[in-house]
């Protein structure tokens, strides 16, 4: 429990709040893992992005980093509004509601994810990386988010869930960057976000191509290329 013991005594209000938001991000990741309606999954992603934006504001207030307000606003506009809307439009066109069954049952998926998330949480904890902006537990949580996002991409067999898995992986990375790299110049942060937008457009184009070609969102038959 060295992670939690790193901050001696009771955590400050700021630390407690930051940790709580980071935890919400992880819980929403689990929510995405078990959501069977694609629409619900996209909404959970929007909620997760919102939580990350809120955390950016919290850090901006708590540590007087005014650039983070801009970042929070941009990430709110892009990740909470634009990206989910794009994906939802695709879903409407594709006329698909329910994600195909994953490679595993929901219960096993969640169990595996808990193990993986715990591994990520404690593995980063023992690395002893201290940040003077956010409590270390938030960093451990962000790595757990990234790992669970990988599980999501691995077990799901439809293009929307896999894409959402990747987008939420990026949310995990944003969380980590808030914890340990909040001083990064704004221009780089904006470039990262812009890059994400380009990636989203490309994901969208490819999802659409796939859907037109196979009349479904499933990746089940994407197994012809081998060897």
């Amino acid at each position: 429990m060295s992670v939690l013991a790193a901050a001696p005594g009771a955590p400050s209000v700021f630390d407690g709040f930051a940790n709580a938001v980071a935890l919400v991000v992880l819980l929403l990741e689990f929510g995405m893992l078990r959501a069977s309606l694609l629409r619900a999954q996209v909404r959970l992603y929007a909620g997760q992005s919102l939580a990350v934006s809120v955390l950016a504001v919290v850090v901006a207030v708590g540590h007087h980093v005014p650039e983070l307000y801009v970042l929070a606003a941009l990430s709110l506009a892009l990740k909470v509004v634009v990206v989910p809307l794009l994906v939802l439009r695709l879903l409407r066109d594709a006329d698909a509601e329910i994600a195909g069954s994953g490679a595993l049952g929901v219960a096993s998926e969640v169990l595996i994810s808990i193990v993986v998330a715990a591994f990520g949480f404690f593995a980063v904890g023992v690395l002893d990386i201290h940040s003077n902006v956010l409590p270390t537990a938030a960093l451990s949580l962000s790595i757990a988010v990234v790992l669970v996002a990988f599980i999501l991409m691995v077990v799901r067999r439809d293009v929307v869930s896999q894409a959402i898995g990747f987008f939420s992986l990026e949310n995990g990375a944003s969380l980590a960057s808030l914890v340990v790299a909040s001083g990064m110049p704004l221009i780089l942060e904006v470039a990262f976000l812009f890059d994400l937008l380009v990636a989203v457009v490309v994901f969208g184009v490819l999802m659409r191509t796939h859907q037109r070609r196979s009349q479904s969102l499933s990746t089940e038959h994407l197994d012809r290329l081998r060897g």
């Binding site: 690395l127 990234v146 980590a176 001083g183 990064m184 470039a191 990636a199 994901f203």
Partner: protein, 504 residues
């Protein structure tokens, strides 16, 4: 000189925009001219960066290491641009006549030229930007553009390959982003909370960086960017994408994109050796290199598809590069730098030759091709020479580079690593040369049922535009193998020096 640096980053972007609006002929001409101009520009930079590091408008930077990778990219940009003209021309001849198909061709070729130039542009930016964060952004842009190019042919295979590629490579780069963040954290301990991850301050501070975050950043970078290099076990997208992309794009993917991603790893290596000493980063690279080489050598023995075979050969050569860097001696590092250039030329040529064969026989399956040397009087022999050079036969450039790598390995007493390298390269040689000999010299195709006949094909090349770039590639390989220019050797040894860590 800084103006050339800026032009190299700006002009291909302008060409991209031009291609979005211009007609087929204008786009083709602009692409070829830009490609050749970019190669000339990269050559002009060589003497300057051998003397000192060049920076421009704060966010651009070129040193010997980056120019080596820039040369490889620009050379392939030039030759594949010429090749693409022939590649599209043969497609246009087929679609001549009907109005509908002509409209389809116009749209297809426009998308191709826009994507092609944008892809080359992003790969030229990656080695020229100043800083870990910008480097990540450039590499991510190469991913998304090339994913669209892989999907361009709009076949079932292309769609599948593009989806796998964009998903796997983007996830890999997600790990690369974590590496960037941890590197930022490490740097922040010395340089203060707000800085922009530029190379020079980071390198100057490298010795004082805290151990654990640098270690973490390096391993994450090897796995993350390694996804795009095609290192085992995150190489799985590579054969699919290389096989399904249009041939000029396959050549760029293999010769240039993999190398540019390796460049990103080398930047992390540079900082990690300064911060941690050479032992840890070298061990990591050695493990990934040997595993990739092993996998590729075994897959090469039993391959049915000509483009997949060449893709696995790329995995093999990236493994060789990783092992070469892990040896760490000046000779092996210089060899590795030469290897980047020679591999770009050879693999570009091999894909272009394979593309001609695919056009001629109308299939990618090795079993259905035969008698290539007679049917293709130019590309056939050129492909033989190219494959020999890929197998590191003298007198070509790869012979010189691999010889230097092996000699460098023995000189550092890395006997086990070097011996494994030699054995696995020999296995790969066997696979590659057997398959090529079959399709080029056997008179009749060997199908699994043994009855398959060649369709009646006439002797002749599909297009001269597809032959000229191969001649250029072979000439470059001969030049690199027989008498590399002095300026180039100076550049290579300077690039190798930047990877050796600070002088003890």
């Amino acid at each position: 000189m800084t103006i050339i640096l800026v032009l190299l980053v700006v002009v291909p972007l302008l060409t991209t925009i031009l291609c979005a609006v211009a007609s087929y002929r204008v786009s083709a001409a602009a692409t070829v001219v830009t490609g050749i101009a970019a190669f000339v520009g990269a050559i002009v930079l060589v003497p300057t960066v051998s003397a000192h590091t060049l920076t421009a408008i704060r966010y651009l930077r070129a040193d010997a290491l980056s120019v080596v990778f820039l040369l490889a990219t620009c050379f392939l940009y030039a030759v594949t641009a010429v090749y693409a003209v022939g590649y599209l021309q043969t497609a246009r001849d087929v679609s001549d006549g009907e109005e509908e198909r002509r409209a389809y061709f116009a749209q297809h070729s426009r998308r191709f030229f826009v994507g092609f130039n944008a892809f080359a542009w992003s790969m030229m930016c990656a080695p020229l930007v100043n800083g870990m964060a910008l480097l990540w952004i450039a590499v991510e842009i190469t991913t998304v553009i090339s994913a669209l190019l892989v999907a361009l042919d709009n076949t079932e295979g292309a769609t599948e390959a593009a989806w796998k590629y964009v998903l796997i490579a983007s996830s890999g780069l997600g790990i690369g982003l974590l590496a960037t963040i941890f590197m930022y954290f490490a740097g922040a301990q010395v340089l203060g909370q707000s800085y922009d991850l530029a190379f020079d301050p980071l390198l100057a501070a490298a010795a004082r960086l805290p151990d654990t975050p640098v270690r973490l950043a390096f391993v994450l970078a090897v796995v993350g960017y390694g996804t795009k290099v095609g290192l085992f076990p995150v190489h799985t997208w590579l054969p699919d994408a290389h096989a399904e992309a249009p041939t000029p794009v396959s050549a760029l993917l293999s010769g240039s994109l993999l190398a540019v991603s390796f460049y990103a790893i080398l930047r992390y290596y540079q900082i990690a050796t300064d911060a941690l000493g050479p032992r840890f980063p070298q061990t990591v690279l050695l493990v990934f290199g040997v595993l990739s080489l092993l996998l590729a050598a075994l897959y090469l023995l039993e391959q049915q598809d000509i483009k997949r075979m060449l893709a696995y050969s790329s995995v093999e050569h990236m493994g060789i590069l990783a092992i070469a860097v892990s040896f760490g001696s000046p000779m092996a590092l210089t060899g590795a730098m030469l290897h980047v250039l020679a591999h770009a030329a050879a693999k570009g040529n091999a894909f272009m030759g394979a593309g001609v064969l695919v056009r001629k026989f109308g299939t990618k399956e090795l079993d259905r091709m035969a008698d290539g040397v007679r049917l293709l009087p130019w590309s056939g022999p050129l492909l033989v020479a190219t494959v020999m050079s890929l197998c590191a036969m003298p007198p070509f450039g790869l012979f010189r580079s691999e010889f230097q790598i092996v000699a460098g390995g023995f000189s550092e007493r890395r006997n086990a690593g070097t011996a494994i390298l030699v054995v696995l390269v020999t296995v790969a040689f066997l696979g590659l040369s057997l398959a090529t000999t079959r399709i080029l010299f056997r008179v009749r195709p060997l199908s699994s049922d043994g009855r398959l006949e060649l369709p009646t094909l006439t002797v002749g090349e599909p297009s001269w535009w597809m032959v000229i770039p191969m001649v250029a590639g072979i000439l470059i390989l001969l030049l690199l193998g027989l008498m590399p220019p002095d300026q180039l050797l100076v550049l290579l040894s300077h690039a190798a020096d930047t990877l050796r860590g600070r002088p003890a």
